[in-house]
């Protein structure tokens, strides 16, 4: 049960529908997922977040598959259930196989482990790593 009403396309104001249309067109899908339906309670916030996702996740110096896998890595680290499901689905659409997911999570797990070994033992950063 969401903490705000989910805004469906049918009952949405024009500015919300315009963002929904852009999401569906950009992603080549014919439905809107709950994340956007919740944000639509504040149409300016919906537009702001969508604009960010559209710009940051577009192909650039990194390809979209790598970006989606990084999104999964962060979401698993933070324990965000919704984002883990939605971005694992997105990464698979970009070509991530089960083998790639397993290996991705192995890196995520290892990084989370060694982050705490460093945090617990508190040795200095080696000067070689500071440029």
């Amino acid at each position: 049960m969401a903490l705000v009403t989910l805004i469906e396309y049918a009952g949405a104001p024009a500015e919300v529908r315009a963002v929904y249309d852009d999401i569906m067109r950009t992603r080549g899908v014919d439905w809107i997922n709950n994340f956007w339906k919740a944000l639509a309670n504040d149409p300016r916030e919906l537009a702001r977040v969508w604009q960010n996702v559209k710009q940051v996740m577009a192909p650039g110096a990194l390809d979209p598959l790598v970006k989606e896998m990084v999104y999964v890595a962060v979401s698993a680290t933070n324990g965000c259930e919704y984002c883990t499901y939605s971005h694992t689905a997105a990464a698979r659409k970009q070509g991530m196989s089960d083998a790639m997911l397993m290996e991705l999570l192995a890196v995520v797990g290892l990084a989370n482990e060694t982050n705490r070994l460093a945090n617990g033992l508190r040795f200095d950063v080696d000067p070689q790593f500071r440029k």
Copy 2:
């Protein structure tokens, strides 16, 4: 000031030196960074963690550059200073440019943002994302 003594090569027992030698050989470097010198206080722990790093970070379904960038993503999310410096250096050695780093952190930042929008609004995972 580290919370344990850093074990230098010169004074290290044979089993520690063997791991140090393997690290330098595998990475093609001629020095040992502080992370390993701290772990060497427990030679079995040193061997265990190195074995894990060696296996998980090796080329597989994902290439080493992607793995290092995922490592940076997790370390920045967790705020681990040592790991951020050391794995940014490692990712650069694998070919990460400044443009790639900036774009990587843009994804990390965005994921951390939307993770909290999802955690705060608590809408259900869409059935389409559950296979």
Copy 3:
């Protein structure tokens, strides 16, 4: 399914009932939520935590609505489901509208994003910010 038994008012020892009564009186409600029923497995712990909540959340230099919104901000950042539901309810009781909730979470999301940009790029704190 909780990891400890929930202690209902009817079967609670006197010292637990005294705290339950104080919670209901202070908050002007006629029921006890699960958080307290779980803590009641250790009556001293129940009394300790309630004493803290009562003191910290009382009006002071900050008003109770701001305090509840800060509680929501922290709970969404940590991904605590129970606390997000219970403190969003509490903040609404204090007057938080949907518009305020959406704006609160926009700030929470942004802060989580820029925290990681800072953690990933590791620039120094400007001297102007250190007093």
Copy 4:
């Protein structure tokens, strides 16, 4: 030592200077803090993040002081050193006293505590809190 070069105003390209000018004008200051100088390595990323900060932190349903205090709450929860210094300074500029800071952090501390009591005991969300 930052992981990227800090871009000073003097040597910055026109599009970066335009953002720097807008930051200084909007905030009524005559200097640029390191956060923006690091982001300026990617002028589009600089513009994107500044646009977000400008929109989200503007007065709206919540006043700017409350927003800055929420920013501090999130930054302290995540342990982000840079953001804690910079947003504590910003909150003070908006009128936060020492007494307000102490009380803010008391709430932040308490929320972080009870988040873990809930996460550790795993009782259900009371139906009363789900609308």
Copy 5:
């Protein structure tokens, strides 16, 4: 609904069965929990993680009950639902009572609170604590 298929003993390849058998023998149980069934999608990853758990959780300088309670402390801090359930069960098998669990979580809560008071006020580490 897991994000990968759970590999049951009956249909598992020989190398997976060998790990499953070792888990059951080592722990004196006759079933495999979902954690391992998910990891078994990558038999080398299954073997790697099991080898780590077996080595790290064995009796040593710390006894197994203390280790399981530390595991619960970390899992509650991170908000990991699965690990909180599974390691609370494991700690109880090692002798943890309800009173011990309540006291453990009191420490976990307090540490999470004071961690943020320190992160928010940013006083220096006293020289007496640096050896």
Copy 6:
């Protein structure tokens, strides 16, 4: 540089001195560490936090050494520098050896790793673990 003034014993009001005296007496030390000097900006907050630490960290169902090690585990997980130094010192005073610290952090690291494997693969909690 702390974000508030550190309150020294010499210039402290009577109610602060009373808490300082109790801290020194309870712990058998002759100095006050910075954590308390920062909290003393709000004497009621100082008294509240000290009361909690005194009650929670006292011997009970768990012994003080285990409690201090749990404190270190949480602080390393959260990356709190001050608390890692201060509670590692406290744990050593209670008898923690280097071997125990290394083993403690091995458990902390492993738990942080497997927490993310569970968060990323999202398999259900086995019914056997839910009582």
